[in-house]
């Protein structure tokens, strides 16, 4: 009741100000009149009475002002006053306002854009019930991985999941989810083209742990965990329901096929729910127990050595994440020990891989997080620096304006305005500028973050929501206000520190160095800081650009220009057994017949495809006891693999057609492996045993030169190649390598040839090697491009800052220059005087910037390639660029100075 009254009064005095003021005046007038009446009654004349009354009353203005203060929302009133005053000033200088707001919008917008990505990928919580109680077990970035061969600590197997689920005491519930691989969906039986969807295999409690209820039908329950193969049910997302079924109300009970196996749709999830993976929206969920049905020919349900699940638990009441981490890390080795029957020695992870990551699951799983978090923080730092440079510029502009208003400020101070009050008013102006810039920046950021995401992750990230939410708005507001104060405070402090008498008397003709000297110092300082920061950014741009160039020109060990790569998925097309083994050969023969194709081969992992395999081997011929069972990178390849890819052989022979399933097992190793394990001896004729069961012994028949086939960075690791037809494990997909006669790859004919072979065989990817390599360095390219943009932006801003300060000095020294020229100084000398000043400022910035740049370059050294973070050439070029820019920034006002006519200059006021 009372607070309502208080509020009403506040509003009244805010919005009915005129009336409140009139009432106040009337009230005081009444008091005065009463006093006059009393004085007259006491015998004074009316005039006398009036004067006496006024005397006793005191200052009416002061009383009124104190009454206003009592209204309690004085600061709002002052704020409104300041705001309207600021807006009026902006209207009077639209160019200044435009330049300031635009440069702030760019600076703040760039920061918001990068923050939006960080927010979406790293910070935002899943749209599920109580996300803060979720805990991820395993490496949350490995969402699409499957690894066989041994037990891992970053991904779990189905038996491991069951043990953890049943033995832990820290989670009230824990679910498992894993990749399906390619899903070929049959919705409409008449469709000829197989269509695909993104699915995820999940345990029965997946939806109950997340607290997601179906909007149609039901979600999975414990029933789906019971009998493998018995629950061909699928839950689809709202987005998929909308996209593919047009929100068909009869959706429940609809029958579809997944990789040719029939399934029934039993439920639809709520709108906005995209699963447990951030960045790739899941279309449909399949019970874990149906894995063998969607990956025909492969059954991971009972295999300890098939690691492909991520676990997410909900903390039991009163359990902290630390406690959960401790318990899981006690549990994991214990489970391994308890199951020595099924987990042989060879399947155990190495001792340094026993720690299981247990982290907050609130933000879900994401593969993009691993790729992008470090680049994003690098970019965040860069845009923050750009914003600082922009701030320095706006500060300089503000300062110049404040100096132009020096007289006005002096008058106001002389009239009794408080300095604090004036500073507040100037700050209101700068914060208003930055808030306007921030609002504009928000629009810019929305667009820029989308473009940026597209640039770094292609279409994969289309489902990431970048619309500004509360954290983004908060971040932008905080940055805007912080910038406003940052660039406003120094000018405001400086501008209000005036000596009244000299300023009021001062004319533009005053002797140099007086009055405006402080402005000069502060402006200089700002420009020096700008150049120091610019050096940082230009140096960074140089380092990233050269890294990109080094990566692009790296010698792979074979010709990168004549290879066309493609990936087909036989398992999704229903290939099994003998067909699975014979089809690669048939496909090779088909493709070889195409014009323009020189040779064709195939391999399990492909080249720069993103998948790699390892296996555990022994070297029986080695005398070294330490080389008994170690893991090595390997690939299963087709005949003529080396001849086709162009990887030269240092010794021995290539794989041939005769190395078939029944023939003696043969292997090729690379030079790195030969050097490490057969130092000084020829490896030809020696043997490699790939651990089984059963063990298989291969004879080494060739040594290939080292080649970079998956990674551009780091040393080439030892590698083993065996014929795919002699291997046990055939994956769900296979890669074909086509050597072409011309660099322009015949993509379409190849596609048609495969369709002619089997129209149902899905082609996942088909691209020349060069573009595959380009894809692996997308992040490097994006960073390099953005670094160049940010560097140029910073340079431009710094140049403007320098130009402004130099122009200002010349304007101040115009009399002096005029006198010098009248006394016979040559134009070149005047120009030199100006340029020297310019260069001194730039050099001061560079001198400060060099150690800072060298220090911060070390922080990004892991992102560099083929050059050291303190690369002298890059540093020198950066310094050179800065000096050139400084010269240009000084030349314009300098040449203007030389055109000053002495007569004019002496008259100038």
């Amino acid at each position: 009741m009372r607070s309502a009254d208080v509020l009403r009064l506040r509003f009244r005095s805010l919005f009915r100000r005129a009336q409140v003021e009139a009432e106040l005046a009337a009230e005081l007038r009444f008091h005065l009149d009463q006093q006059i009446d009393e004085n007259i009654a006491a015998g004074m004349s009316p005039d006398e009475a009036r004067h006496a009354a006024l005397r006793t009353f005191g200052g009416v203005e002061q009383i009124q002002e104190r009454c206003r203060e009592m209204r309690g929302n004085r600061w709002i009133e002052q704020l409104l006053q300041d705001l309207s005053y600021a807006l009026r000033t902006f209207r009077r200088s639209p160019t200044f306002t435009l330049v300031a707001v635009l440069s702030l919008a760019l600076g703040i917008g760039a920061n918001t854009a990068i923050f939006s990505l960080i927010n979406a990928l790293l910070l935002r919580e899943l749209p599920v019930q109580e996300p803060s109680g979720l805990v991820a077990v395993g490496d949350p970035t490995r969402v699409g991985s499957l690894s066989t061969g041994n037990v891992r600590n970053d991904l779990m197997s189905v038996p491991m999941y069951k043990e953890i689920r049943d033995q832990n005491h820290v989670f009230s519930q824990v679910f498992a989810s894993g990749r399906v691989g390619r899903l070929s969906v049959g919705i409409d039986p008449s469709a000829t083209e197989p269509e695909s969807a993104r699915g995820r295999l999940v345990s029965g409690n997946y939806f109950s742990v997340l607290g997601v209820q179906a909007v149609r039908g039901r979600t999975f329950t414990a029933q789906e965990d019971r009998t493998p193969g018995a629950t061909p049910f699928v839950v689809i997302s709202h987005a998929y329901w909308q996209r593919r079924f047009a929100l068909d109300p009869q959706i429940i009970g609809r029958r579809i096929t997944l990789n040719k196996h029939p399934f029934t749709i039993i439920g639809v999830t709520p709108e906005g729910f995209f699963g447990d993976i951030v960045g790739v929206a899941t279309d449909l969920w399949i019970p874990l127990t149906m894995q063998p049905q969607v990956n025909p020919g492969r059954n991971f349900l009972d295999r300890w050595d098939a690691s492909w699940l991520l676990l997410m638990g909900r903390l039991a009441p009163g359990v902290s994440i630390e406690k959960a981490r401790a318990e899981i890390n006690v549990l994991f080795p214990r489970i391994l020990k308890e199951n020595t029957g099924s987990i042989t020695e060879q399947l155990l992870p190495s001792p340094d891989r026993m720690h299981v990551e247990v982290t907050s699951g609130a933000a879900g799983f994401s593969a993009l997080r691993r790729e992008l978090s470090q680049p994003l923080f690098t970019l965040m730092t860069m845009v923050a620096l750009v914003l600082l440079v922009a701030c320095a510029n706006v500060a300089n502009l503000m300062l110049e304006r404040a100096m132009a208003r020096q007289k006005e400020i002096a008058v106001r101070l002389a009239l009794g305005a408080g300095r604090a009050r004036l500073i507040r008013q100037l700050l209101t102006e700068s914060v208003l500028l930055s808030v306007l810039g921030g609002a504009l920046g928000l629009l810019f950021a929305f667009w820029a973050s989308k473009a940026l995401l597209q640039l770094v992750s292609g279409n994969a990230a289309a489902s990431i929501d970048l619309r500004p939410d509360l954290p983004i708005l908060g971040f932008t507001a905080a940055v805007a206000i912080f910038t406003g104060v940052l660039f406003g405070l120094a000018p405001a402090l400086r501008a209000t520190r005036v000596e009244l008498a000299p300023t009021l008397k001062e004319s533009a003709r005053s002797v140099a160095g007086q009055g405006a000297g402080g402005r000069w110092q502060l402006g200089k300082l700002l420009v020096v800081v700008q150049f120091a920061l610019s050096l940082l950014l230009v140096m960074g741009a140089g380092l990233f650009l050269r890294t990109l160039r080094n990566l692009e020109r790296l010698d792979l060990g074979y010709d990168r220009h004549s290879l066309l790569l493609l990936n087909v998925e036989p398992v999704a097309a229903g290939y099994e057994g003998a067909r699975l083994e014979t089809f690669p050969r048939e496909l090779v023969d088909q493709l070889k017949a195409l014009p323009g194709v020189r040779a064709v081969t195939f391999s399990e992992n492909g080249i720069f495809s993103g998948t790699e395999s390892g296996t555990t081997i022994r070297l029986p011929d080695s005398q070294n006891p330490g080389e008994d069972g170690f893991s090595i990178a390997y690939d299963c390849v087709g005949a003529e693999y080396f001849q086709t890819t162009g990887i030269p052989l240092a010794a021995g022979r290539d794989f041939e057609l005769r190395d078939g399933p029944g023939a003696p097992y043969v292997a090729v190793i690379n030079e790195a492996m030969a050097k490490k394990h057969f130092a000084g001896v020829s490896p030809l004729g020696k043997h490699v045993v790939i651990s089984g069961p059963p063990d298989r012994e291969y004879e080494i028949v060739g040594v290939a030169r080292n080649a970079r086939d998956h990674d551009l960075r780091g040393a080439v690791e030892p590698r083993l190649y065996v014929p795919l037809v002699q291997s046990t494990d055939i994956g769900t997909d296979i890669n074909l390598e086509i050597s072409t006669r011309e660099p322009a790859a015949p993509v379409e004919p190849v596609r048609q040839a495969i369709r002619a072979y089997d129209p149902d065989l899905p082609i996942r990817e088909i691209a020349p090697l060069t573009s595959m390599i380009d894809e692996t360095i997308t992040n490097e390219r994006t960073i390099a491009r953005l670094a160049v943009i940010f560097g140029l932006l910073a340079l431009l801003l710094a140049a403007i800052g320098l130009y402004g300060v130099i122009s200002y000095t010349i304007a101040r020294r115009i009399n002096e220059i005029g006198i010098r020229m009248a006394l016979g100084a040559r134009r070149s000398r005047v120009l030199w005087m100006v340029l020297r000043e310019t260069m001194l400022l730039a050099l001061a910035g560079i001198v400060i910037g060099v150690p800072v740049a060298l220090g911060s370059a070390r922080a990004v050294s892991s992102r560099l390639f083929g050059l050291s973070p303190s690369d002298p050439a890059t540093l020198l070029v950066a310094i050179g660029i800065l000096l050139v820019v400084a010269v240009f920034a000084g030349l314009i006002p300098g040449s203007r100075a030389t055109r000053i006519s002495p007569v004019q200059a002496l008259r100038y006021e």
């Binding site: 009372r2 106040l24 009337a26 008091h31 200052g59 009383i63 009454c67 009592m70 209204r71 309690g72």
Partner: protein, 109 residues
């Protein structure tokens, strides 16, 4: 007549609330009444009175209304609200406590 005593710090609110608790009054009247009742000892300056009235009004302890005086002038007349009555009781209790304490110290032997 000596110089009017400065009001004891913080008692102006109490005086105003008490004065208008008897009947609604305008600012002039309040000042006069305080002066009369205190036999010219307490004089409220306009510079303190009006800001105090406005503050009390903002706190919703008193409410103002425009009315006509006997002399035919319009004046802003203040009256106590219910919240103001509670506040007055509080201030009175406070004052009693304070003056008692001051007396105890001042009169100690």
């Amino acid at each position: 007549m000596g110089k009017p005593n400065d009001l004891v710090q913080g008692t102006l609110d109490l005086l105003i609330l008490k004065t208008i608790s008897l009947e609604p009054m305008h600012g002039w009247g309040i000042a006069k009444r305080i002066q009369q009742i205190s036999q010219d000892v307490l004089r409220v300056q306009q510079g303190s009175l009006y800001p105090a009235l406005h503050r009390l009004e903002q706190q919703a302890w008193i409410k103002a209304q425009w009315g006509e005086t006997e002399s035919g002038r319009t004046a802003k007349v203040y009256a106590l609200t219910r919240a103001g009555r509670v506040q007055l009781a509080k201030e009175l209790a406070n004052w009693d406590r304070l003056s008692e304490a001051v007396n105890l110290v001042a009169r100690m032997i």
